[in-house]
């Protein structure tokens, strides 16, 4: 069976092997529409590739590393990245390559092409999932085409495809993918058309931009939009866009440019062209028997149909379905640049100011009613910042991923996380905090009388030390407040003092020894590029670094606001305890507010959550997670179940937690390794571990219940396993 077929030779019996996209384009071309010239690499080529190159079992091992249902989106992204790297590093075996090379060379020579997926089932009328698989634009030459062929194949296992694997019928054993290699039609105006408006069945929608379609599809270029009546074919309305930018082809891909003034004042389509597109859409609908979602472009006044597929929307069903939100986190470079400006110039300064303002309000001087209102007000403020954290800070984390993908595509390292080394800066807020702690610990270490007075909780007489401690608390809080859903706080500096005494009892934690200079590494990376590409590489690196820093810093900033909420709640709790002579530790803040407003009300206590106890017969010996920080560490486990557990941390222990909260990072330099339930290579805990060069395993299901404080634990950060005993 041949592995590659020209579009115009595709017949009904080839449908299965060429995938939906190629098959419908072949049909359109056969009805006389202009479609770009194309070759289709059949799905059989994919199967032969993964079998001959020995990838099948490696993919399966990766996918089955963990129960899929327990995988967080970030872990799915990681799995997908590792699979992508396998494809990137595995050349097409000669016998397959030989069969593909000559038809590709013959058809396209040095012409630029698009390499895009045509997965069987991808665009069927039951399921149409745009953008789950990758396309690569402006690829030139046989070698580059074959490389991108592998990347498109790899996208069968993209994070998005894995998220929708059930709907896609993605069967790990059987799934396969055909690939289209298409001539590029560099249109001057492009867009999409929906034969039927999803919001009104009597209408159709056409959207158009100047330049290439990719700007419209990824949301960076706003389109002009026309609503048409399906029956009369007349335009019902036109919503013009702010036409500012367009995507143009460049030597190595595409780039975004400001739109020329003559074009920005004029809609991309005239009435005749709108009608022409709509007629094609209806013709295509007639042909396929269902309303179509059509991508089109005009090149030199000639209309080309780039793609036509049935309209279906991913029906998320309930708001419980977080997947569309996860996918929305895959932001474009342009989008992230705008987001960065907003975060650095507006949000962070406003957050710091907010925390500052709150800290000046003394809760002790308020009446009970005033305090109740103040608690509510602070909780609202905090709620607003948490919402911003999710809507702006979390999506900005994609900056690291974007740089990572660029690095992997251009440098092609063996280790798909090599790029992380370039992001490590040593300038994180929590590192700054830990440095200040170490300075105080050094003072205690040198001065036995200071240590003694701290141990006995006497008044601190050492003025320099006292000043440092006060400054520290002013800047970072007293470390005892937990961020997250719990609102518990030890009062005063006892917590810090405990930690300082522990730190002082040991020599200072060794700093990570870097085997390289970051500057050398950076210049070596940038020296791979020339001209415009160098500029792009440097911009992406800068964005990646900002994103990496924020992953830690945002927690510290949010923590400061959270602390002010907790301070107010604690004041309320203290008053209620005094009044009612009961302990209300852990009472819900709403209960505290209620009791402050109504002096007869006695707040309900929150039921405490007991950790899951395992049977004595069943014991975990080796648990599989994700390798998030290379190295091997062995020590006694310290399992953090409640915020105060952190103060019992002893030097050399292994930190085992659900997730590293900002108030925990100060023990990280004391630890021999980190085990975290929350998974991912780019999460906060993994970043902190890397900065200290500590072995770290994340994504360990039930870490805090399978491991108990005192268990002897080995953390294998190379392979992502934790051995107990």
């Amino acid at each position: 069976m041949s592995l590659i077929i020209p579009l115009d030779q595709i017949k009904e019996e080839d449908k299965e092997g060429v995938g939906g996209k190629a098959f419908s384009l072949a049909l359109l071309s056969q009805t006389g529409m202009n479609v770009p010239e194309a070759l289709c690499v059949k799905s059989e080529a994919y199967l032969q590739f993964i079998t001959c190159a020995g990838l099948r079992e490696r993919i399966l091992l990766e996918i089955n590393r963990k129960n899929f249902k327990e995988m967080r989106w970030e872990e799915i992204w990681d799995a997908s990245l590792r699979i992508r790297n396998l494809f990137l590093h595995t050349p097409v075996p000669q016998e397959i390559g030989l069969e593909l090379q000559s038809p590709i060379a013959e058809k396209f020579r040095d012409k630029a092409v698009v390499v895009r997926s045509s997965a069987p089932g991808e665009d069927s009328s039951q399921a149409s999932f745009a953008g789950l698989h990758e396309s690569y634009v402006n690829i030139r030459g046989v070698e580059a085409i074959l490389e991108h062929l592998r990347l498109v194949w790899a996208s069968l296992w993209s994070d998005a495809a894995l998220l929708y694997r059930q709907e896609l019928g993605l069967e790990i054993e059987k799934s396969t993918m055909a690939v289209l290699i298409q001539e590029i039609v560099n249109g001057e105006r492009s867009g999409v058309a929906f034969g039927k408006n999803p919001n009104d069945a009597s209408q159709a929608v056409i959207e158009a931009v100047y330049g290439l379609n990719s700007g419209l599809v990824d949301g960076t270029v706003e389109p002009d939009r026309w609503i048409l009546d399906r029956q009369t074919r007349k335009v019902l309305s036109h919503s013009p866009a702010h036409r500012e930018k367009w995507v143009r082809p460049s030597q190595e891909g595409t780039h975004l440019e400001p739109l020329t003034p003559d074009l920005s004042g004029k809609p991309p389509l005239n009435d005749d062209e709108i009608r022409e597109i709509f007629n094609h859409v209806l013709k295509s609908e007639k042909h396929f028997g269902a309303p179509q979602d059509v991508e089109w472009t005009f090149r030199k006044e000639r209309l080309f149909i780039l793609q036509s597929r049935p309209i279906t929307t991913i029906s998320s069903g309930s708001s419980e379905d977080k997947r569309p939100w996860y996918l929305s986190l895959r932001r474009s470079f342009e989008n992230l640049k705008v987001l960065r400006k907003k975060i650095e110039e507006e949000l962070i300064p406003a957050m710091v100011e907010e925390a500052e303002r709150l800290s000046h309000q003394n809760c002790a001087t308020l009446s009970d009613i005033q305090l109740a209102d103040e608690i509510t007000r602070r909780m609202d403020i905090h709620g607003r910042w948490v919402a911003i954290y999710w809507s702006d800070f979390i999506p900005f984390a994609h900056g690291m991923r974007l740089f990572g993908q660029f690095y992997n595509d251009t440098v092609k390292p063996e280790d798909p996380y090599e790029f992380m080394v370039l992001l490590e800066s040593g300038k994180l807020k929590s590192l700054e905090r830990n440095q200040k702690l170490e300075e105080m610990a050094a003072m205690v270490r040198k001065d036995p009388s200071l240590a003694l007075s701290l141990e006995k909780f006497k008044t601190i007489e050492d003025k320099a030390f006292k000043r440092k401690l006060d400054e520290f608390i002013q800047q970072f809080g007293d470390l005892s407040c937990s961020v997250g859903e719990q609102t518990q706080c030890l009062q005063g500096p006892e917590g810090i003092i405990k930690i300082l005494l522990k730190m002082a009892a040991h020599p200072p934690a060794k700093k990570k020894r870097r085997s390289f200079h970051l500057e050398d590494l950076t210049s070596r990376f940038l020296s791979r590029f020339q001209g415009k590409d160098k500029h792009l590489a440097s911009e992406l690196l800068d964005l990646g670094r900002a994103s990496y820093r924020l992953r830690d810093d945002d927690n510290i900033y949010l923590g400061r606001i959270e602390r002010e909420v907790v301070v107010a709640i604690e004041e309320g709790r203290r008053r209620i305890e005094k009044r009612c002579q009961i302990t209300v530790e852990g009472a819900d803040p709403a209960e505290v507010v209620k009791a402050l407003k109504d002096s007869d009300y006695i707040p309900k206590r929150q039921p405490s959550t007991e950790p899951i106890k395992l049977s004595s017969e069943l014991k975990a010996r080796q648990i599989l997670g994700q390798p998030a920080g290379p190295g091997i560490g062995r020590g006694k486990a310290r399992v953090i179940l409640s915020p105060s557990d952190i103060f019992a941390f002893e030097s050399g222990e292994i930190l085992v937690c659900d997730a590293i909260e900002p108030n925990m990072t100060f023990v990280v330099p004391l630890s021999s390794g980190i085990v975290e339930r929350r998974g991912g290579m780019l999460i906060h805990g993994a970043i902190i571990a890397r900065e200290y060069g500590l072995p770290c395993v994340t994504g360990v299901p039930e870490a805090t219940s399978l491991i108990q404080t005192g268990d002897l634990v080995t953390v294998d950060g190379y392979l992502g396993i934790v051995i107990i005993g």
Partner: protein, 161 residues
């Protein structure tokens, strides 16, 4: 293939080679003081049948056992979990001494090992993973339910029971 006559050493060796290349996993037996312990491991046999390779991370029980007592046994078979196994299946036990592969030899043996198990690349490449080599002293080959021969691979002669 299964119930072959095994009179000749060369035939036996050919059989062992075929068995080893058709099977990916074998049972490894180690011991901790007087407590035996068994594991499934992904193995590879060298062409001269003198060595059996497998890999493990150093924090495992089997590695701890081997470090204290390098004498091990391995079991290979071609059973299909059918009644016919009783007359058809062949089981091979190898005994010998295990040691960690290090130095220049490692690169070469690791390559051979990965040629058989390409999906274990990340595992074997980890600094925490050890590649181990069993120097085989004797193969005990059981077929036709009760027929047993020994192949003393170190001095290359074989005895029938």
């Amino acid at each position: 293939m299964r119930a072959i006559q095994m009179e000749k050493t060369s035939q036996l060796k050919k059989f062992l080679k075929d068995l080893f290349s058709s099977q990916r996993l074998a049972v490894l037996a180690t011991q901790n003081r007087r407590q035996p312990y068994g594991n499934l491991v992904a193995f590879m046999a060298t062409d001269d049948l003198k060595h059996l390779l497998f890999a493990t991370t150093r924090a495992t029980r089997k590695f701890a056992n081997i470090s204290k007592n390098p004498k091990v046994a391995m079991v290979f078979d071609n059973r299909s979990n059918q009644e016919s196994d009783f007359h058809q299946a062949v089981a091979v036990t190898a005994t010998g001494v295990v040691k960690e592969v290090e130095g220049p030899e490692k690169e070469c043996l690791q390559k051979l090992y990965l040629a058989k198990h390409p999906y274990l690349k990340e595992f074997v490449s980890s600094p925490t993973c050890a590649l181990l080599k069993v120097e085989v002293e004797t193969y005990f080959v059981v077929n036709r339910f009760q027929n047993v021969v020994e192949l003393h691979i170190k001095n290359e002669s074989h005895h029938s029971p």
